[in-house]
Symmetry: none
Subunit: 125 residues, 4 copies
DNA sequence: GTGGTCTAGACCACG
DNA sequence: GTGGTCTAGACCACT
């Protein structure tokens, strides 16, 4: 369910957050669904429980999941909606990346091809 | 010449590297040209000299600049070429960003608009 | 009789204690009256029996209820009196809350309005 | 500057957050001011650095402070404003507390006296 | 069993 | 020096 690269420059807990976000967006994890417990996941991923906890906390504070002490962590009912709404904030990243590609002589056509490919249902991330 | 945002979450030395890259790509800094000395730049930007040094080291190790002991740092003669060549390595970033935008319900048309805008010379970064 | 919010950050057993306290103070539960059994209540509220037991234990140790083995739990004859007496212990909470409201620029008039409203029989909790 | 009660039921990091909030509201800590470093504070309070870090993180994510890796943590320029704006969210707590006091036979006059006392600049928290 | 907090101690990146 | 992350292991409260 989760794939962790301990050598990556991005923190483990951030990898978890990002992956859980895409799982929610893809519908692979339904709203209201219970997430794997901190301990279970920590063992499966051979990662310290504190690290899992930190990832869950982060998402909790963003309202994407909620945790009920003694019961478990659950996906918020409006998690997907929240994520969709916040996506527009990523457009500036697109702009700066495109500008860099343009300077690097990547032809517009190549970029458009990538857009088409991804949006034709092609690329999974 | 350089604009540093000390509050940004991206490290200062990375900001310097990125900006120098775009300056080279834009031709604002010519190949062979001498770069400001570490001390000069550290004072101008009120940034720790170590930080400047780190940025220069990073670019040196990538062959984009070279330092002549006792004289200073200079832009490599093939800096621009190297940068252009390495740009293709950034395409996977584009793919994953596009996939995220798609999941976040950003319409393809919106993305295309951004591509057009940037490639029509619109956006400067 | 009881309303439990399993998503609340306050523990379920504390919700039960607080509600039972106000029921006693309001006279909705008379002194000497028998309380629902742990099992009954746990089913009605779909809450773990241990949780109900914990709430009852808490109130027992405070002398608000007493349990007769084999018969059930009963409200102490002096429960209401005890609760009223212990209320003064809550005044420091009022002070610190007021201090925080003052720092947060809540006007005195607004606070007074709330006092009036509650004491005019307005607010039920 | 900070007072920690390790025996309190409220978590240490929450005690820190609350105290820092009141310090900001009182103006004892100015906006833009640098906070004590994680390590320094952890030694002064004989608390684990991670705990201090957690408190700082919490306030960072709420926009009350910002941290610059390698430099330190600083109070946000709009910290006080944010805190004042969020104070209204505490009014429901006032209502429920007042309702409990009323049930516990605390006379309205007594409550009003406390309000007057605090708002006449009396109580420091 | 669950989540939450805390300590101790380590390592990294940044300035 | 700074903040940030991670591990290991412990304890607590709640269900």
């Amino acid at each position: 369910m989760f794939m962790i690269d301990p050598l990556s420059r991005t923190a483990i807990y951030e990898q978890l957050v990002e992956q859980l976000e895409t799982l929610i967006l893809k519908g692979a994890v339904q709203q209201g669904e219970q997430l794997p417990s901190v301990r279970t996941l920590s063992i499966k991923l051979s990662v310290n429980p504190n690290t899992i906890q930190k990832a869950y906390n982060e998402m909790d504070s963003r309202g994407l999941i909620y945790s009920v002490p003694g019961k478990g962590c659950f996906v918020s009912m409006d998690a997907k909606e929240r994520l969709i709404e916040s996506t527009r904030e990523k457009l500036p990243m697109l702009d700066s990346l495109l500008a860099r590609l343009k300077l690097g002589r990547i032809p517009k056509l190549t970029v458009i091809e990538h857009v088409e490919m991804v949006y034709q249902g092609g690329v999974s991330v």
